[in-house]
Symmetry: C2
Subunit: 683 residues, 2 copies
């Protein structure tokens, strides 16, 4: 053991002497650490706080320590005397001491573990790598607490390490371009959640989003001018590296590639010409896998891009090729016959194998969506499973490493618990221990058909924090009430690192209200969610890349806390019949009942908000039925058959989406009504 | 006349046929146009709206038209069918038609005039240059209105042109670095307000914020890594050019230059070594004006920077050299004696003349703060007056062109009307007509000692909109009630182009409340302003570049509308004794009286917010006195001597700043109390 760590152990042992004071309550940490022991006592913070480093200190670690101090100061207003931490700040009397053995490498399976010890005398954070220190600093910031005497950190000991080594966020910057600040603030959010892979989806039918020096018509003709320069890509990679995050680019091929063909139609399997796609869906254009020129092009393309992105892994997409252009091209059909290629999947494997050769030449490992899984592929590729967990299991059994994205499609607007309980390796996995080791982790995927820079954070956060916890924390951490309690805190903290998921919603409500009072709109939106999965595309509007994403369905979030809490409240009340619960329910119902009248002024001044009128009216109607039901329940009476029929009719109506949204309190009010209906039912 | 414009005139003439319907009400435009005639009728907007261009159409104009459509669609949600406008979109049946004679040049005195005609049949916007079209498109967006039938544009005719050709915003990106997105969103705000000069303050004692390829130690050692690359500078210049905005860099010299000396101490007038300054104030370090090497360095430096920035003008700062290093340097003293240079001001003129030679060599015109004004300087320089209007007048009389910044220091947190009524050329100007022509306009200056990327927008907007109006609109436009009515609307619209002045405040309040309910804090902050001028530096805290700017004084804005409206309400009530006014006053007072108790929960959970406790308590106390006064006033009674003494004591106490803030409703409540005191006074 390194003397440094030995010293620290002594420190810890000294602490474990029995104490009479009660242990501190646990902070709302997320992701929850592998091991945590709360102890008694508080380390007080004041402006004299000093932080020092020890061991093999990297610039990354010093930079993270500096940012830690500034973030701490921003939240506490203490005017901390220390400015920037350098690798030479080694004062052993400092109250916060960080120590690591070596700089970490940004690669799969790197050690990210850390030990954090807080006592009334100070804080010791130790780790094998500086990346572990970064993870521990995020935990430490989440420990910040306050009492009448000011700020403090509660005494505790945490031993933490991730369950899975690959914990990613995929960002689609193609369907809607996402500028630099979107990338950076989301990297900050990822770092806070201890995520370590930024999967950058850089090319699509709708846009080629990176400068290509070898083939400049790619970005010049395929992006409308919205692309990342090499300098910007390097800036993102450095920013991510400073936060212990790997950057893996994805160039989707052979399908999802129309934007390539605008400048280079000869790459496609049909003559063209091609235009940037501005609608959504699966497109026919696909690369021509039988022309040697295709591979010569891709060879030179990959030479440039593999040099730009330092990570060992490189994503080639490979999803959703509908094969139509291949079927319609006689030369391709002849080639398949001549080479005994039975179907399009096999032809794509042929393509993939050629790409794999190129990537191998450039020292990269290939990642692709689950369509690239084919018995003929070598075992050194990584499968990203999106269509179902079957591919994940199948891949692991066949000897492939794989990561899970099915169940982590955050653009589908599903509730947090759905994603949270989606475990890449559930307790009942059919995999053997060796096979299970091939499951590397998972990635949340943020597709951008219906997402703009203004709304993207609210589509990613806070739900992705729950996915990050699933991938970091022990499998046994899965209590939903506790998740939501901590998520509520993390939702706030995510905002303090620059994410705009809450503040932009307020802007959007002001715009929807045309600058008027937003409260009635907010009251409605708080219990409304956009329709889920891809149902927004089936509500009458045809969305394109240039549609306005500024309407109620864009301002509404998934898993609205007000609605979720109400559902839970009703559930508890129906079991416990508690008076306080009843009072809370009645207050909310009364507010919703009155809100429709209040909202009329907004709808009057602002036509863009008028499509929510049916939702608002329904909410008022069912809230009224809910109040009636509460009245009966509390007086031990029942609804009349007529009242029940009227309520059921309105509840049925309230289940209909409007404005591409749905009311999220209908089932709960229905439960109240049905509970008050017993007598009527049994008449 | 161009046939295009002749056709348009016919169109206009046809409109001037007398109509019986009433004219539309005027929209809340800002800056107010030179001439506006409201007419009757409404042009209805729907998804079939088409826009076309005519004349000499630039890419800038097509791009602005595209952004116009998207912004219109974002606010209306109409799903406009048109996507991007190209220079070839010339459909003469389009309802919105834009036409200009020629592409504008980004230079002083370029034509920015436009004519906008809206009839029930469509919109014609014509201008000499595409820059005029850009200005007109901003006006057009501000015309958007709605009624029961949906969105429309009211019939009107506007003939508009700026009063002054130089309407700028200076942004200090040195004392706190302001990243790219801050620059871009403020350029969008400027464009909305028809401002045309972005003055980029790029070097300071506290930071050298631009990559220098010739002398890389400037940015490498002088910036902590926070600087703009050449590529980013070009991106800003292009972004600004697309919005009709010139970019003028400022490199402050010979003073305010410590960050230069970190890498190049030989430039200074004392040996060094130097460090980046992290405190605020006027520093001693100054360039050495007697060494030829200084000018050789600056020659090569300016060769690089003048090539990077295309504008004709180049700002060399020149302010606040305290001369101490010069006084202490025997060689400099000897040089002065040898060359008959009587004082430091003359020595700085010597320096300035050398720089002027270099700038002239590189084809640039020199701009500097008013210290550069010296009888010995040639007449082809521009003086930026900051210390007082005297310099402006003196400069104009001596034949210099000049711009006004004195009175436009928006970092001083003064009220909007103070800046608004500050006219570069007031009606009582002592200047002759010829001299007056040398007054080119003015610039709002955003210095960044106490400003971060999080707060900068709220320090600039919406007050800078009033300065923009002062510089664009006729001098006679100066009615304050009308200003504030329109400003309220513009404040909202500025948010829709990406500015964060309102939404970040909400984040800051959430952080101050540690994620808890923000309403009590908001109620207090709404009537609180940071202390003005530079008084925040005299309230006990020593601010540095790394202090936390996240406290109440940072969340509070200048010229808080709630407080301003209350003061006006009280003023009106004391004259008119209207019952509705009385009711409004009582409601507000009651809210403030109750707020202190509500705020305690926030203060309990969040120590960073506790320094507002005295303000909150004072507000509750004086609100109570105010209610008492209202009670007497309405019942025709008077306060007793004892009541009056108690009220006066608390009012006096409430005038004391706390938390670097001051209550902005004390004088109004005092007026109520004194008004209710008549009898007591005369006892």
């Amino acid at each position: 053991m390194n003397p440094l760590f030995a010293a620290m152990s002594v420190f810890v042992v000294a602490l474990s002497v029995p104490v009479v004071k009660a242990n501190e309550p646990a902070p709302a940490l997320m992701p929850w650490p592998a091991e945590i022991k709360m102890q008694s006592g508080r380390f007080r913070l004041d402006s004299g706080l000093r932080l020092a480093v020890d061991g093999q200190v990297s610039d990354r670690m010093a930079g993270a320590a500096t940012r830690f101090l500034r973030r701490l100061d921003e939240r506490t207003g203490l005017f901390l005397a220390q400015n920037r931490i350098s690798t030479a700040d080694r004062d052993s009397t400092a109250q916060i001491r960080l120590a690591c053995h070596r700089p970490g490498q940004l690669e799969l399976f790197e050690d990210e573990s850390y030990r954090l010890t807080i006592t009334p005398a100070g804080v010791e954070l130790s780790a094998v790598t500086d990346i572990g220190i970064l993870r521990g600093l995020e935990t430490l910031l989440q420990c910040l607490a306050a009492d009448q005497d000011g700020y403090y950190l509660p005494a505790l000991q945490i031993d933490d390490a991730p369950r899975f080594p690959w914990r990613g966020l995929m960002l689609d910057v193609c369907r809607h371009f996402m500028p630099m600040e979107v990338i950076k603030r989301n990297l900050d959010g990822m770092a806070m959640m201890k995520m370590n892979v930024f999967h950058w989806h850089l090319s699509e039918d709708q846009g080629f989003r990176i400068e290509c020096k070898t083939f400049p018509k790619l970005h010049e003709m395929g992006s409308d001018g919205f692309y990342f320069t090499h300098a910007q890509v390097r800036e993102v990679i450095a920013y991510a590296a400073d936060r212990g995050i790997r950057v893996i680019p994805e160039f989707d091929m052979p399908g999802h590639a129309t934007s390539w063909f605008v400048g280079y139609p000869e790459l496609a399997s049909a003559p063209g010409p091609y235009e940037i796609v501005r609608s959504w869906g699966i497109m026919d254009p696909v690369m021509n896998p039988i022309r040697e020129e295709t591979y010569e092009f891709l060879d030179r393309f990959l030479a440039e891009m593999t040099a730009l992105f330092p990570d060992d892994y490189f994503h080639i997409g490979g999803d959703e090729n509908n094969g139509k252009q291949w079927n319609a091209n006689p030369e391709i059909q002849a080639f398949m016959q001549a080479h005994g290629i039975p179907d399009n999947h096999a032809l794509q494997m042929h393509f993939n194998n050629r790409i794999l050769e190129l990537l191998t030449k450039y020292g990269k490992k290939m990642v692709g969506w689950d369509e690239i899984l084919h018995p003929g592929m070598p075992r050194n590729i990584v499968i990203q499973s999106w269509r179902g967990k079957e591919a994940l299991i199948q891949a692991a059994r066949q000897g492939y490493q794989s990561i899970l994205s099915n169940g982590y499609y955050i653009d589908l607007m599903q509730p947090t618990d759905f994603h949270y309980l989606n475990d890449p390796l559930p307790a009942d996995t059919p995999l053997t221990a060796d096979e299970a080791k091939r499951i590397l982790g998972g990635e949340a995927t943020s597709w951008a058909e219906l997402v703009t820079p203004e709304t993207v954070d609210s589509r990613i956060w806070p739900r992705t924090a729950a996915i990050a916890e699933r991938l970091w924390s022990p499998a046994t951490v899965q209590e939903l009430d506790d998740l939501y309690r901590r998520l509520n805190r993390i939702d706030f903290l995510l905002e303090t690192v620059g994410l705009t998921h809450r503040r932009n919603t307020e802007l959007m409500l002001r715009r929807l209200a045309d600058g008027g009072d937003i409260e009635p709109l907010r009251t409605l939106i708080d219990v409304v969610e956009p329709v889920k999965i891809y149902n927004r595309h089936r509500q009458g509007k045809t969305f394109t890349s240039y549609s306005p994403y500024t309407r109620a369905a864009d301002a509404a979030h998934a898993d609205q806390p007000v609605a979720r809490n109400f559902r839970r409240l009703v559930q508890d009340f129906l079991q416990q019949r508690d008076r306080t619960q009843a009072e809370q329910i009645r207050l909310l119902l009364a507010r919703w009942q009155a809100n429709d009248a209040a909202l009329q002024k907004t709808l009057h001044r602002s036509p863009i908000s008028r499509d929510v009128a049916p939702l608002s009216k329904s909410l008022a109607l069912i809230a009224d039925h809910g109040l009636q039901a509460m009245d009966r329940l509390e007086r031990g009476k029942h609804l009349t058959a007529k009242e029940l029929d009227a309520a059921r009719l309105d509840l049925q109506q309230a289940k209909q989406p409007a404005a591409e949204c749905e009311l999220m309190v209908v089932s709960a009010i229905e439960a109240l009504v049905e509970s008050a209906a017993t007598k009527a039912k049994s008449r």
